[in-house]
């Protein structure tokens, strides 16, 4: 008889400006693999972080084996039989694989009254686990020398060292090779047969049908449905994930698409990107789809001159241009808006106006380089009004804005440069539903002004809703291209997943 080993009730968690989890519920039985499904930003990862003690829920209860629990840290959770494999690695870069796997729960042997680390035992256990995972990793290697996939395997190995009853996998296959994925599924099946409960977070529906027993769909931080995998199909899940009224979300403006303004031919960087060809027309929104690590961000950053050498031809308005650094791109009207607002996009401890003018400070200064703050406030005020950024004034610190409003500042900052081509990398990541719609509205408004836009997004519905054309990337090259009208989620996914 399968008993419930993990139960979440009415979990609420909010972050500054965002309600991430809204009365979510979830349950896990022993010996089952229960998938959590949802769009990016639906709250899957946040939910699991609440479970394992990274975040404290604002409201709600967590029951492990029927006992209410509240873990203080992932280690605390591990010790109580709940282990998690994080999506983004939480590994210590300068430390070895072995040290990382056993950090905080090292195997100790007692010798002459001293508690010593038992490297032999740890090594043995780690080797066993990696053998089970069918991977080879040098246990003495520093984490910083490993690739993403290897890091992911280390995370998995770390979780497996705990004899946990509940194991949470947060998009574990995002950067794994097929062989590694197969090995992982074997492990999951084995764990399942041992009677453990597994939470499997993924947006790859194929995988869910391959190994999961039940699937819970959440959307915008809310519980939508729980179904038996055997009784459902892809369409049903997709419908649950995407939800109602797609048209409201994606107010695509009808624009006349003009002539070609930007073209990239036979573009390579030193190793990863291979033979990239694409073009963008005036007033067009071109989407770039693909899985994590497929090279979309790398391509755009390389074109904009952020990352080292590259080979290939880049044309702007029919003229071949060379971009050595981002200034070259910026001055020609090619502007990039980073996916990571906090790290690359904005200086959160500066005010809205200061952020907007940063890339072109010289334009807001007199010939003595003295900044004209009134001019700054003026332009910032313009965007504040136009994009309805919710801030009391333009001197408001960006850090105090919600994600959506921060993103609007990011876009304002780019637009202030009067670009001809705007590259938006994940423009709606970490933004709540309403702000998403507003940002989409802004984007389509821009095309009406004859701006061309490249949009990278991991949310297919967003691309489907907004784009005139979608390129699909895979392993550093372009694997396909669809026009509006011919693209569907299935077509794109089949190429991206392949």
């Amino acid at each position: 008889m399968k008993k419930t080993i993990l139960e979440l009730k009415d979990i609420v968690k909010s972050f500054p400006g965002v309600l991430a989890l809204n009365r979510l519920k979830f349950d896990l039985k022993s010996g089952e693999v229960h998938a959590i499904c949802g769009e990016n930003g639906a709250g899957k990862s946040t939910l699991m972080k609440v479970v394992c003690g990274v975040y404290k829920p604002d409201e709600g209860e967590i029951y492990v084996d029927g006992v209410p629990q509240s873990f203080s840290s992932p280690l605390d959770a591990y010790r109580n039989g709940v282990s998690i494999i994080f999506q983004e690695t939480s590994l210590f870069e300068e430390m070895t694989v072995l040290d990382n796997i056993f950090l905080g729960h090292e195997i100790i042997k007692k010798k002459a009254g001293l508690k010593l680390l038992d490297y032999a035992a740890m090594r043995k256990k780690a080797t066993e686990i990696f053998d089970r995972l069918n991977t080879k990793i040098d246990l003495n290697a520093c984490i910083k020398t490993l690739g993403m996939a290897q890091k992911q395997m280390v995370e998995i190995a770390k979780a497996l060292t705990f004899d946990a009853n509940i194991i949470i996998f947060d998009e574990p296959t995002a950067s794994l090779t097929q062989r590694e994925v197969d090995a992982l599924f074997d492990i999951i099946n084995k764990l399942k047969q041992e009677g453990r409960g597994i939470v499997y977070i993924s947006h790859r529906l194929e995988e869910i049908f391959q190994i999961c027993d039940r699937v819970t769909v959440i959307r915008d931080g809310q519980y939508i449905s729980t179904r038996n995998v055997a009784d459902t199909n892809k369409d049903e899940l997709v419908a649950d994930m995407v939800g109602r009224a797609m048209t409201n979300y994606y107010p695509k403006a009808q624009t006349d698409i003009g002539e070609e303004i930007f073209r990239v031919e036979h573009y390579y960087d030193d190793g990863f990107l291979k033979d990239i060809n694409f073009y963008v027309r005036k007033g067009e929104i071109v989407g770039f789809a693909g899985l994590a690590g497929c090279g979309r961000t790398e391509l755009m950053q390389s074109i904009c001159g952020f990352t080292g050498k590259a080979a290939g031809k880049v044309f702007l308005n029919g003229e071949e241009i060379e971009i050595h650094n981002y200034n070259d791109a910026k001055n020609r009207g090619i502007v990039y808006v980073s996916e990571d607002r906090g790290k690359y996009g904005l200086i959160v401890d500066m005010s809205i106006e200061q952020n907007i003018t940063l890339p072109q400070l010289q334009n807001f200064a007199n010939n003595m380089s003295i900044i004209d703050t009134e001019k700054e406030a003026e332009i910032a005020g313009k965007y504040l009004k136009e994009f309805e950024i919710k801030a009391p004034d333009t001197e408001f610190l960006v850090a105090n804005l919600s994600g959506g409003n921060q993103q609007k500042v990011s876009v304002s900052k780019a637009l202030a440069l009067n670009p001809t081509l705007l590259i938006l990398d994940e423009p709606t990541r970490g933004v709540d539903v309403n702000a998403k719609a507003e940002i989409h509205k802004i984007i389509s408004e821009l095309t009406r002004r004859n701006l061309s836009i490249i949009m990278i997004s991991s949310e297919l519905p967003e691309l489907l809703g907004m784009c005139d054309r979608i390129y699909v990337m895979k392993d550093g090259s372009i694997a396909g291209c669809f026009d509006r009208g011919e693209f569907t989620q299935e077509k794109i996914l089949s190429i991206a997943l392949d």
């Binding site: 500054p16 809204n22 809310q222 990039y336 690359y344 959160v348 900044i371």
Partner: protein
């Protein structure tokens, strides 16, 4: 929005208050202190070199760097300049001194930017290097002043020592530079988020190198004044100079992590240290007690800074309420 009008206690005001308290305290106990000639010719004159170097140091610390080698650049510049003066005369000495400052700063900047070594490690190494070179070249003996340096160190203009004028001029330039110009803004943004600054198309490396060069140049300028004031200089004269400069900058509320700080703070910091230095001396307080007072003032300032900062950091969060319970659990 109403509280925007409300009077806000800034750190600089607090710092200013601390200074006034110290100043009044000392002036009350020792009237000699208040004489204009003492304030000008002693209190200010004695802090000028340190205060001067603290200005570019503020810029460097604001952009998230540090320079532990300033005192040694100053001594090296004076040493080479002084030696050049012996054989080639004052004019050459001036050029040599300035070039030394420039090259030393350039080396610091290049190593930090191109080899991507942390500023602390780099300037710690160059500290030894510059100290060692000046010691080796001077063979450990004193280097004597030359015409230009003597002029810089000893003359007065309208009854005020010329170095005070220079300092005031630099104060104005650096204050405007940091608070008003594009460069100042860029420095803050580098200190707050170097990646994002780079992604805004700003050449962070170039700015960093430029700052270390400016710092080197100001050190060279300070070396004239120092040399002129004392008529001779020795390789170890920079003992504690580096730490004193950093103390002043930190005392002025500049965060050692970069991104936060102001020139005004540094200037008040300079005044506090100057007042303590000269004031406590005039009160015949032994050096050891003075050191304790210096340390305590620094600690008080650091704590005051933490208090003000935590108030400023208090974010106005937009709270979003969760859906009512019954709706979700349907």
């Amino acid at each position: 929005m109403a509280n925007k009008k409300k009077f806000k206690v800034t750190f600089n005001m607090l710092l200013f208050l601390i200074w006034i308290l110290i100043f009044i305290g000392i002036a009350a106990t020792s009237p000699v202190f208040l004489s204009p000639s003492y304030l000008l010719n002693v209190m200010l004159r004695n802090i000028i070199e340190i205060g001067m170097v603290a200005l570019p140091m503020t810029l460097i610390i604001i952009m998230g760097g540090i320079d532990l080698s300033v005192g040694n650049i100053m001594i090296l510049a004076a040493t080479l300049g002084g030696l050049a003066a012996v054989t080639y005369g004052s004019a050459v000495a001036v050029i040599v001194t300035i070039l030394t400052g420039l090259v030393c700063g350039l080396i610091n900047g290049l190593v930090i930017v191109k080899a991507k070594i942390s500023p602390m490690v780099t300037t710690l190494a160059t500290m030894y290097l510059y100290l060692g070179i000046s010691r080796g070249i001077s063979k450990g003996s004193s280097i004597y002043s030359f015409d230009f340096a003597t002029t810089m160190g000893t003359t007065s203009l309208f009854g005020i020592p010329v170095q005070v004028w220079i300092y005031v001029l630099l104060v104005v330039i650096f204050t405007v530079l940091l608070a008003k110009t594009t460069l100042g803004r860029k420095l803050y943004s580098i200190g707050l988020n170097e990646n994002a600054t780079q992604y805004a198309g700003i050449d962070v490396g170039k700015i960093k190198i430029a700052m270390y060069i400016i710092c080197g140049l100001i050190c060279a300028l300070a070396s004239f004044i120092w040399l002129g004031r004392f008529t001779s200089i020795k390789f170890d004269a920079g003992t504690n100079f580096n730490m004193k400069v950093i103390t002043i900058v930190v005392l002025g509320g500049t965060s050692i992590n970069g991104g936060i700080g102001s020139m005004i703070g540094t200037i008040i910091g300079t005044l506090i240290i100057a007042t303590l230095n000269s004031g406590l001396t005039v009160m015949n307080i032994p050096i050891d007690v003075q050191t304790i007072v210096h340390g305590s003032v620094l600690i008080v300032a650091l704590i005051a800074y933490a208090v003000v900062n935590s108030r400023a950091k208090k974010k106005k969060l937009i709270k979003i309420e969760a859906a009512p319970k019954q709706v979700a659990s349907m």
